[in-house]
Symmetry: C2
Subunit: 196 residues, 2 copies
């Protein structure tokens, strides 16, 4: 075939997504081919628009359409407590539990020497900039080796600033990623947060 095959091209592009293998990508592409062309076009338009107007909030480092983001601009939230999470999706898990009235900070991952992720690859500097105005920083990184190490690392930086540093209690099952934890476990973990 002299022309580029749009089906193969689509499969190859979809297979770039994390967790999507060539087989899944093939299924998706054929599924799209069977739908009205508008379906693929609408998904494509949404992908095109994704980066266009999303900005990183200069306060919490979450992605939003405005800077500062609606959460950081919300006067109804406690201004002096910051919950530090690895991923933006983790914010939803905390919010769903109903146990947190403060602000958030998106770290962008956890420190992982094995994967070459050091503090500079995360938003640690931004967090340190906010910390002096905070009364408490709750570290809600995942309960795994990287998450625990990151929590200890942050505690070492924040405590000398006179900030109370807490960690989510082990209501969240070890080995579970925060994003997938159930509501009540997250609520208990917030309730039982402990000094670091």
């Amino acid at each position: 075939m002299s022309r580029v095959d749009p089906l193969r091209r689509c499969v190859a592009q979809l297979a770039r997504l994390p967790g999507v293998g060539e087989r899944t990508a093939t299924r998706l592409a054929y599924w799209l081919l069977r739908q009205d062309p508008q379906v693929a076009a609408e998904i494509a338009d949404a992908l095109h628009a994704l980066h266009a107007s999303m900005v990183k909030c200069s306060v919490c480092c979450d992605m939003a359409v405005v800077d500062p983001c609606p959460r950081c601009a919300d006067p109804g939230r406690e201004a002096d407590t910051i919950c530090v999470v690895e991923r933006p999706q983790d914010i939803s898990a905390i919010e769903r539990s109903g146990g947190w009235r403060g602000r958030f900070h998106v770290l962008g991952g956890a420190i992982s020497p094995l994967e070459g992720v050091g503090p500079d690859a995360l938003t640690v500097r931004e967090l340190l900039g906010r910390a002096p105005a905070a009364r408490e920083v709750l570290v809600a990184t995942d309960p795994d080796v990287e998450g625990d190490a990151t929590a200890l690392y942050l505690a070492g930086l924040l405590k000398p600033l006179g900030v109370r540093v807490t960690r989510l209690a082990h209501g969240v099952a070890v080995g579970t990623e925060l994003e997938y934890a159930d509501r009540s476990s997250v609520a208990r973990a917030l309730e039982n947060r402990r000094e670091l």
Copy 2:
């Protein structure tokens, strides 16, 4: 927020894909946001181009950039044997086994009264148009209730035309979809195909 949030829009659009829930869509969207904007743009372009130049092959009913498709136009393939599959992806499973030198026909599914899929929703008419020129039609529908029923239904239509109708042997484990069968099982199933 007065403006449409492109992140939520992207999540909603990606969640339209089969097998992609809102959580997976959220992960994908955030992943894309962390990548170079070109990644989302390239995937979007591939989706936009998908329908533009893909046509249904008027012979085998597979999707291709030309009509007839390269497989149907290949003079190296036996012209008088047709392997009938439910999905285009199934062709790859047969091809990988190296046990088939003939042509293909994509049915577009299997007869399923429960899901309201009758013969008219499939490419049965197109198959009947090709059948008189065929010596053998091998029905490679999935080894499940719908696939078996479809095979019997096709046999009832094709045998009166004097065509030999065969079925993939039970080398393919029952309950397994053809697309996921291993190479040697598919090869054995081709070898042991039986009269219907």
